[in-house]
């Protein structure tokens, strides 16, 4: 099928990538599917093929797979050089190492020149037992502050294919923040669309609007059920496009709800919560507002349920934050 979309929309590639990645419920398969239709895509790794789901690419398109080794700074510079020579590099590591560790390299060799380098990070926030070295609680803040950079955090396997297609269709640098899905992706989960600059309303309510992203979307829907039982009806927005943010939607939520609460697996400083707060502060609306996230502390190693409980990131914490605002 061939569709034509007007110039300036990146339409041709949109369609091609969207078709290729449709149905892919793991990042690795979505990337491979996209690469099979676009010969410019190259895959860069920093020793973590298995945990970044790039073994599919490595084993299927080895001539376009470049294992740089444990040298993230070099990898980002290499990605910049490859993009300047006409390729579209996807560079992989854990969230913390593809952002904080290489911030200046990303700023100078990717963001400033607005190159089509896609930085792909796994293990967002507190979702690792390894410890503080591997916990990315400031990656969104860092990437969001860079001019030209888009920041995408899909809700899970159901949205990852669409997020990869959108990252490719965007003719510039992207930070893709991904969670490792536990076990095999559920093939019955309905696929979710993704459009850069657009949030998705997962659930409509009248009292509180919860704006969230990534794996927290699922927890937010749980909290909404708990609130429903208390006669508090919640809108839940999957704001997978953290930058550009869907400012129009945020402003609309701030007008139409008495309360807005942000919910993120990230520091409350500089992340999605801050981005939403910035829009609301400029919008003229004055909803009651709260932020649920990592509260300006470093965490430690532990299971995700333990850490989410200790650092206030559970559905129950979101529920309590809304109740606190409502009273």
């Amino acid at each position: 099928m061939t569709l034509t979309i007007p110039d300036g929309m990146g339409g041709f590639r949109d369609i091609r990538y969207a078709e290729a990645t449709a149905g892919a419920r793991s990042y690795g398969k979505a990337l491979l599917a996209a690469a099979e239709v676009d010969p410019r895509i190259v895959c860069l790794g920093a020793d973590l093929s298995q945990p970044t789901q790039t073994t599919y690419f490595r084993d299927t398109l080895p001539e376009r797979f470049f294992m740089v080794g444990i040298q993230e700074a070099n990898m980002v510079g290499v990605a910049g050089g490859m993009a300047r020579a006409g390729d579209i590099p996807f560079a992989h590591s854990f969230c913390v190492f593809i952002t904080r560790r290489v911030y200046d390299q990303v700023a100078m060799q990717v963001a400033y020149p607005k190159l089509p380098v896609k930085l792909v990070g796994f293990i967002p926030g507190l979702t690792t037992e390894l410890g503080v070295s591997h916990q990315a609680i400031d990656d969104i803040a860092l990437m969001r502050a860079l001019p030209n950079m888009a920041v995408i955090e899909p809700s899970g396997p159901e949205q990852v294919g669409a997020a990869v297609a959108a990252a490719l269709a965007f003719d510039g640098p992207v930070y893709l923040r991904l969670s490792l899905s536990k076990g095999a992706p559920d093939e019955t989960t309905p696929l979710q669309q993704f459009e850069l600059g657009r949030g998705t309303i997962m659930r409509e309510g009248a009292d509180v609007a919860v704006v969230t992203s990534g794996a927290m979307v699922g927890h937010a829907l749980e909290a909404a059920e708990m609130l429903e039982r208390e006669n508090l009806s919640a809108t839940v927005v999957n704001m997978a496009s953290i930058k550009p943010l869907d400012s129009a939607l945020v402003a609309r939520l701030a007008r139409s709800h008495k309360m807005v609460v942000t919910y993120e697996n990230h520091s409350t400083i500089g992340g999605l919560g801050s981005a939403v707060a910035e829009v609301i502060a400029l919008s003229g609306s004055t909803p009651r507002f709260a932020m649920v996230g990592v509260n300006d502390v470093f965490a430690e190693g532990g299971s995700t349920p333990y850490l989410f409980g200790k650092y206030g990131l559970t559905a129950g914490d979101l529920y309590r934050a809304v109740k606190g605002l409502a009273n």
């Binding site: 190259v42 001539e63 376009r64 470049f66 740089v68 080794g69 040298q71 700074a73 070099n74 990898m75 980002v76 510079g77 290499v78 990605a79 910049g80 050089g81 490859m82 993009a83 300047r84 020579a85 006409g86 390729d87 590099p89 200046d104 390299q105 100078m108 060799q109 400033y112 020149p113």
Partner: protein, 276 residues
């Protein structure tokens, strides 16, 4: 593609002309990267008049060789070389470092495709060069990548990541030239971080390694010939240069930036005329 010169005397003549431009440019702004500019003029002249495959009429020609100045600040020399080669108009030199000019102290891609990457945050240029060399090779293009580093930049950790990586990927289309002038902001490089011996470090990392007098066009040209013929490994040319080279009263002076009074500029230009 333009024709390069095999006539070393012609390259030397170009180097002298570039030096005159460097002196004139720095005199205009009163203080700048004068000593390094004079010191590396022979390297730049050899690259731009004998080695690099370029098309002055089409700076973004895909078949061009890539040139990256990783230090980015040796621009009195870089822009003088561009002007001498006919890649930018003379008027560009007059705007050097002026507000609003694309010809900034640190070369940026605001200049256009002649500046292949915006460097200046030290240690990054070789990584970009590795990426370009990888892509050019995989695309089946025979363009080569040349990266010029300052010796102080060897103190950056990322540089050695890129050195490992270039050898590991066997990038024989990549050539690194280290401008060994012993000069960094703090003073003499060896008083900051002891780096000698440099060439054996590159050799140990798996590079074809050559040491040359960086103020000898003949030695630089021969080393570049060896680099071009080397298969299976990148080449590092450690080029010892004398800050202020070509102007006797400036030779060997050690200052990261130099003030140039009008009478000193006149004397320097006279010395360069006399050398012909």
């Amino acid at each position: 593609m333009d024709t390069n010169s095999d006539d070393l005397a012609e390259v030397e003549r170009r180097a002298r002309s570039i030096r005159r431009r460097v002196v004139t440019v720095v005199e205009r702004i009163k203080v700048g990267y004068l000593l390094q500019g004079l010191g590396a003029a022979d390297i730049f002249a050899t690259l731009f008049f004998r080695e690099l495959r370029l098309d002055a009429a089409n700076a973004s020609w895909p078949g061009r060789d890539r040139f990256i100045l990783s230090t980015a600040h040796n621009t009195a020399l870089l822009y003088s070389t561009f002007a001498e080669r006919g890649l930018i108009p003379e008027s560009a030199l007059e705007s050097y470092t002026q507000d609003g000019s694309a010809f900034e102290v640190n070369a940026s891609e605001r200049v256009g495709p002649l500046v292949e990457a915006t460097c200046g945050s030290l240690g990054q240029g070789l990584s970009v060069g590795v990426g370009m060399a990888l892509s050019l090779r995989r695309q089946g293009l025979d363009s080569r990548v040349y990266v010029v580093l300052g010796d102080g930049e060897l103190q950056e950790g990322q540089l050695w990541e890129a050195v490992l990586s270039a050898a590991s990927f066997q990038l024989d289309n990549l050539c690194l030239i280290v401008d060994r002038n012993y000069l960094q902001v703090e003073g003499h490089t060896d008083k900051v971080v002891r780096m000698d011996p440099i060439a054996p470090k590159f050799a140990a990392f798996g590079w074809r390694t050559l040491e040359v007098d960086g103020n000898s066009v003949g030695e630089i040209a021969r080393a570049l010939d060896v680099a071009r013929e080397t298969k299976g490994a990148p080449t590092a040319i450690v080029a010892r240069t004398t800050p202020g080279a070509g102007v006797p009263f400036l030779e060997g002076q050690m200052a990261h930036v130099a003030y140039l009074k009008p009478e000193e500029a006149r004397r320097a230009l006279a010395d360069l005329e006399a050398a012909q």
